[in-house]
C-alpha cells in the first residue's frame, strides 16, 4: 500500500507527484548561503538543525528560468541522493495521498527540461500529473545543467 503514497506539490508552476519513498520531509528554508561558480540550478546551502543541505531550484532544471533563486521562507522538499541531503524548492506542497491508478508511460511531447526529470504519468483528482524522480532534479543531464 505504502508504494502508492505520493506527495503532490507544485514545482516550477506545474503540479507533480513525488513517490513518498523518495521524500524525506518538507521544510521551510532559512539562511541560504550562495555557492559561486557551481551549476546554475544550485541555489546554495541551508541548514536544518545540524545538517547542511544543498538547495535546488527546479525552475532552472526544467528551463523555466536561467538563474537559481531562493529566499528565506521558501518551502523545500528534502530528498536524499547519494548520501547527501538536498532541498528542492516547491511553489506549494498540496497533499500527501494514496493514488489508486497505475504509473503510466509518458505520452505526448514534453519540453526537454521536463522530459529529463519525469519518469511516468499518473492520475490525481481527475487530472494527469508527472511523476518526478528527485535524483534527476539533483543531477540533471549535462546538456541542461550547462
Amino acid at each position: 500500500m505504502i508504494e502508492r503514497l505520493y506527495l503532490i506539490a507544485q514545482l516550477a508552476g506545474t503540479r507533480v507527484a513525488l513517490r513518498s519513498s523518495d521524500v524525506d520531509s518538507v521544510v521551510i528554508v532559512r539562511n541560504v548561503t550562495p555557492v559561486p561558480q557551481t551549476q546554475p540550478h544550485l541555489v546554495g546551502l541551508f541548514a536544518l538543525r545540524s545538517r547542511v543541505m544543498t538547495l535546488i531550484d527546479a525552475r532552472v532544471v526544467v528551463g523555466a528560468d536561467t538563474a537559481a533563486h531562493g529566499a528565506d521562507g521558501d518551502k523545500a522538499i528534502v530528498v536524499k541522493v547519494g548520501g547527501h541531503a538536498y532541498g528542492i524548492i516547491a511553489d506549494a506542497v498540496e497533499d500527501a495521498c494514496f493514488l489508486d491508478g497505475e504509473e503510466l508511460p509518458i505520452r505526448g511531447k514534453l519540453s526537454p527540461g521536463w522530459r529529463a526529470i519525469a519518469e511516468a504519468m499518473i492520475e490525481h483528482a481527475g487530472e494527469t500529473v508527472l511523476v518526478v524522480n528527485p535524483e534527476r532534479l539533483v543531477n540533471p543531464p549535462l546538456a541542461h545543467a550547462a
Binding site: 548561503t33 561558480q37 557551481t38 546551502l45 541548514a47 545540524s50 547542511v52 544543498t54 547527501h84 543531477n139
Partner: protein, 797 residues
C-alpha cells in the same frame, strides 16, 4: 541470536585480524615461540567454544590447525611455508564461516576435508590423521575451555570496556552536534534579552557540560591505527607470494589514534599504495641481487602524530618511479603533449602519477595496473582534507606520505570574506597573513598577471572575487588582506581577500558532489550562527587559476637574492657534537630551536625531530648520551625544511671571502679562518641533498665544471648539479673520473680535449636572452632548462 554465540562471533572476528599478522611474523621467524603460542591459543580457544556452541565445521577446522600448531610447538613439525599457507587457509575459512553464521544465525553445511588434509599434508606418521574429524574429540575438548579462554585474553583486561554498536555512537555524535547548535541559539536569545544573573549562571554550567560531552564523544570515536595496520602483513605476504617476490615489512607507530571514520577512509588508499609498492616498486629477487640489494625487499610503514595531523608514510626500497617512462606514458595517454612535457619541472613530472587513467605498470597484472591508480588515492585522501606527497628516489625506492587531519570533523579554520560572501580557509594551509597596505608588500601587474612582492619574494596573486566570479571593488581603494598559502606542488601563492575575520574551530562535512566538482571548495561547515559556510580548497584554486608555473618559476633564485641582500656572507658559528666549532651560512637558517633529545628519533631509516607540531628530517649525527636537549638549526631552501642538530650557538660572524675547498665535496664546503682559528664551513646544499638520499656516488653520472675557481660555479651551480643527482668534479681535480657531461660558461675557452660541437658540453650564459641565432647556451638561472638539458645529455651521451 543467542547472546553467547554473538559474543563468540565478534570476539573471533576481532582476534582473527590481529592473529593473521602474527602468523606471517612467525613464518618469517619460525623460532619465535611467543608468536606460535599466541596463534595456538587462538585456535585452541575457538575450538573450545565450538564444543558448547555446536559448530561442528569450525570445530573440526580449528582442531586440525591446533594439532598442526601443537606439533610445531613440540618440534615434531617444521613450520614450512606450506604449513603456514594451510593454517592461513583454515583461519580464512573459519572467518568466512563466522561471517555466514552472523548473517544466517546457523552454521552452513559444507565440506572442509581438502583444507584439513592440506594442514596434515606433509605430516609424518599416521597417528593423528584418523582422529581429526571425530566429533568426539572436538566435544571433549570443550571441557577445559574456560581456562583457555581466560588465558587467550592476555593483558586486554586491564581496561574495562563494553561493546557499543557503531550506529548508536554515530547518532549520539549527531545528537551532541544538534545540542551544541541549540545551546548557541539559546545563548543568542539570552544575550538579546538582558536576562537575570540566575539564568545566565545556570546556562554557563549547561554550556560547559555540553562542551565536555562533545569532547568525550569525539574521543569515543578514536581508534588505534593498529586496527588499520594489523591485516597488512598478511596482505603483503599474499601479494608478494603471488608475484614470486620476497618482501619484509616493518611497522612503527601503531599506537597513534585516529577518528574511526578516518581509518575507514584511509584503508583503501593505503592498501592500494602497498599493492603498488610490491607490484611496481620492489623488483624480482634476481634483479635485486643484480643491483646489489638484499634479495628480500622491504616495506616500512610509519605513523606518527604531528599537531592536528597524522602522518602515514609508506616506504619501499624498490626501483622508484622512472620519470622518463612516466612522461612517455602520459604523452601516450594524451594527458600532456610532448612539448608540454618538455617544459615540466622534475616535481611536475612526478606529479603526473596522479593523473587519471595513468599507470606506470608495463603490463596489467592481477594486483594493480588497471588504470585505477594514484588519482583515486589522492582524491580519497583529499576528500577527507588530507594531502599525498611522493618522494621518488629512482633506483632506490619510493616514499608515499599521507597527511590526514586527526578527525574528519573538526579543523581549525580562518574566516575570510569576498564581496559579502564569507568562507573558511583551513588554518594549516595559511602560512602568513599580511595587510595589503603593509610597506613590505608591493603589487605589480605584468602581462595581465598580478604579482605580489612580499619582502623580495615574488608570488602569483589571485583575487578571491575573480576565482568566484564576483564583483571586485577597486583594489587600491580599500584595505585588503593577503593570505600566503601553498598551492599544487608546494608552490606558494598569494590570495587576496576583502577581509579576514576570525579564527574558529569548524566541523567540516563534505559538500554535495556538484559543489565539490568545482574544485574551489573542500567541504561545508555550520558555524554557530546557523548559516552554512563553505571551506575553500586553496590547492584547487591554484590549479583552477593555473598559477603553478608562475608562482614557482624562480622561487629559489628570487629568495636567494632576497636573503643575500640582507645578510650576505654572514655565518653562524656553533659547537658541534664532536667538539669542533663549525660555521654555516646564516641566510639558509630559518630559526634555532631547543629540542629535547627524546623528541629526536630514528624513524623510517632517518633521524627526525618533532618540533611543535612539525616533523623535521635531521641530518644524520650521533648525539652524545649525556645530553638531554640539543639545539636544532632549522634550514630552509624555500621549499623544504631540514634540521641540523648541534650543542649550542657561539656567535654570528662575517664569513671571509676565501674558503679553501675540501678534498671531496661533502658536508664540509670548505675551511676558512675566523678569529685566527680554522673553521669548517658546512654546505647546506649537501644536507638537503643527502636527506633527499640521492644515488650512491659511483653510479651517478659525472659532471665536470670547467671553472672551479668561479664563485658562482662553486656556490650556486655545483650544489644544483649535485642536488639533481650528478657527481660534480672540477677541471682542477686530480684523478677525477671521466666526465659524462661538461658544463662551461659562454665565454670560457673550449676545453682542450673536446671539439666545438661536442654533444656532451653544456654552455651557460649570464645574459637572460641568447646572443644570436646560433647560440645554444642556456641562461644560467633557468634551472629547469639546465636540468632538462643534463637529463637529455646523460641519456644520449
Amino acid at each position: 541470536m543467542d547472546e553467547i554465540l554473538q559474543e563468540f562471533l565478534s570476539e573471533t572476528a576481532e582476534t582473527m585480524e590481529e592473529i593473521s599478522g602474527e602468523i606471517v611474523a612467525w613464518e618469517a621467524d619460525p623460532a619465535d615461540r611467543e608468536r606460535l603460542d599466541s596463534i595456538f591459543r587462538f585456535v585452541h580457544t575457538v575450538k573450545g567454544s565450538c564444543g558448547f556452541l555446536d559448530l561442528p565445521r569450525i570445530g573440526a577446522l580449528s582442531h586440525a590447525a591446533e594439532d598442526a600448531l601443537d606439533a610445531a610447538r613440540n618440534g615434531r613439525r617444521d613450520p614450512t611455508p606450506a604449513l603456514v599457507t594451510a593454517v592461513l587457509a583454515v583461519i580464512d575459512r573459519i572467518l568466512s564461516l563466522t561471517e555466514e553464521i552472523a548473517s544466517s544465525g546457523s552454521e552452513p553445511k559444507g565440506d572442509d576435508h581438502a583444507l584439513i588434509d592440506a594442514v596434515h599434508a606433509d605430516e609424518s606418521g599416521a597417528d593423528t590423521v584418523g582422529e581429526v574429524i571425530q566429533p568426539g574429540t572436538v566435544i571433549a575438548a570443550g571441557a577445559g575451555s574456560d581456562q583457555t579462554i581466560a588465558a587467550a585474553q592476555p593483558a586486554a583486561q586491564d581496561w574495562r570496556t563494553i561493546r557499543v554498536p557503531l550506529n548508536l555512537l554515530d547518532s549520539m555524535m549527531n545528537g551532541v552536534s544538534d545540542m551544541v547548535l541549540a545551546r548557541n541559539e539559546v545563548a543568542r536569545v539570552l544575550r538579546g534579552d538582558g536576562n537575570s544573573g540566575a539564568v545566565s549562571g545556570a546556562f554557563e554550567r549547561l554550556s560547559a557540560s555540553v562542551a565536555e560531552m562533545r569532547n568525550s564523544v569525539s574521543q569515543m570515536r578514536m581508534q588505534r591505527i593498529e586496527k588499520l595496520f594489523a591485516p597488512l602483513p598478511r596482505l603483503i605476504r599474499d601479494v608478494s607470494n603471488e608475484l614470486n617476490k620476497r618482501v619484509d615489512v616493518e611497522i612503527d607507530g601503531g599506537a597513534v589514534e585516529l577518528d574511526r571514520e578516518m581509518i575507514e577512509s584511509i584503508r583503501d588508499p593505503l592498501t592500494h599504495i602497498i599493492r603498488n609498492a610490491i607490484d611496481h616498486g620492489i623488483e624480482a629477487p634476481a634483479d635485486r641481487l643484480a643491483k646489489g640489494k638484499p634479495e628480500a625487499g622491504k616495506i616500512t610503514l610509519v605513523a606518527c602524530q604531528s599537531g592536528n595531523q597524522i602522518i602515514i608514510e609508506v616506504h619501499d626500497d624498490g626501483a622508484g618511479i622512472s620519470t622518463d617512462r612516466l612522461v612517455a606514458k602520459a604523452v601516450a595517454a594524451k594527458i600532456v603533449t610532448a612539448s608540454e612535457a618538455r617544459a615540466l619541472t622534475a616535481t611536475e613530472k612526478l606529479n603526473l602519477i596522479f593523473s587519471p587513467g595513468l599507470t606506470t605498470a608495463g603490463e596489467v597484472t592481477s594486483i594493480s595496473g588497471r588504470g585505477v591508480g594514484m588519482d583515486i588515492v589522492r582524491a580519497n585522501i583529499e576528500r577527507i582534507g588530507g594531502l599525498v606527497d611522493i618522494e621518488n628516489n629512482p633506483g632506490n625506492g619510493l616514499t608515499v606520505t599521507m597527511r590526514v587531519p586527526l578527525t574528519l570533523t573538526i579543523i581549525s579554520g580562518l574566516t575570510v570574506c569576498a564581496a559579502d560572501h564569507v568562507f573558511a580557509i583551513p588554518r594549516a594551509s595559511v602560512s602568513e597573513i599580511i595587510l595589503q597596505m603593509n610597506d613590505s608588500v608591493r603589487i605589480d601587474r605584468a602581462g595581465g598577471a598580478d604579482i605580489a612582492i612580499v619582502r623580495g619574494e615574488r608570488l602569483a596573486l589571485v583575487y578571491l572575487e575573480d576565482v568566484l566570479g564576483l564583483d571586485r571593488p577597486d583594489a587600491e581603494s580599500i584595505d585588503r588582506a593577503i593570505i600566503i598559502t601553498r598551492g599544487a606542488g608546494g608552490h606558494r601563492y598569494a590570495l587576496s581577500v576583502a577581509d579576514v575575520f576570525d579564527h574558529e574551530e569548524l566541523v567540516i562535512k563534505p559538500a554535495a558532489p556538484a559543489i565539490m566538482a568545482t574544485g574551489i571548495y573542500a567541504g561545508s561547515t555550520l558555524p554557530d550562527n546557523g548559516r552554512p559556510m563553505l571551506l575553500l580548497d586553496v590547492t584547487g584554486i591554484a590549479e583552477r587559476q593555473d598559477i603553478g608555473s608562475l608562482g614557482g618559476q624562480d622561487d629559489r633564485a628570487a629568495e636567494a637574492v632576497a636573503h643575500n641582500d640582507d645578510c650576505r656572507d654572514q655565518a653562524l658559528l656553533f659547537n658541534d657534537f664532536d667538539g669542533a666549532v663549525r660555521a654555516i651560512d646564516l641566510a639558509v637558517i630559518d630559526r634555532v630551536d631547543e629540542v629535547p633529545v627524546a623528541a629526536i628519533r630514528r624513524q623510517g631509516g632517518r633521524l627526525r625531530a618533532l618540533v611543535g607540531d612539525q616533523m623535521i628530517a635531521v641530518h644524520d649525527c650521533t648525539i652524545p648520551a649525556d645530553l638531554t636537549a640539543i639545539k636544532l638549526l632549522r634550514l630552509n631552501d624555500g621549499d623544504a625544511e631540514v634540521g641540523y642538530a648541534m650543542v649550542d650557538v657561539v656567535d654570528v660572524v662575517r664569513l671571509p671571502a676565501s674558503i679553501a675547498a675540501p678534498a671531496q665535496p661533502g658536508l664540509i664546503r670548505g675551511v676558512t679562518l675566523i678569529g685566527g682559528e680554522p673553521v669548517e664551513v658546512i654546505d647546506p646544499y649537501w644536507i638537503f641533498c643527502s636527506l633527499g638520499a640521492s644515488r650512491p656516488a659511483e653510479r651517478q653520472p659525472v659532471c665536470r665544471l670547467t671553472d672551479g675557481g668561479d664563485h658562482w660555479t662553486r656556490q650556486f651551480l655545483a650544489p644544483l648539479i649535485a642536488g639533481a643527482g650528478y657527481r660534480v668534479v672540477y677541471d682542477e681535480d686530480e684523478d677525477a673520473p671521466t666526465a659524462d657531461i661538461v658544463i662551461a660558461g659562454d665565454s670560457d675557452d673550449q676545453p682542450d680535449d673536446m671539439s666545438a660541437d661536442d654533444q656532451s658540453i653544456l654552455r651557460l650564459r649570464k645574459a637572460e636572452r641568447p646572443s644570436g641565432k646560433g647560440d645554444r647556451s642556456i641562461y644560467r638561472y633557468d634551472k629547469d632548462a639546465i636540468l632538462g638539458a643534463l637529463d637529455r645529455m646523460t641519456r644520449t651521451g
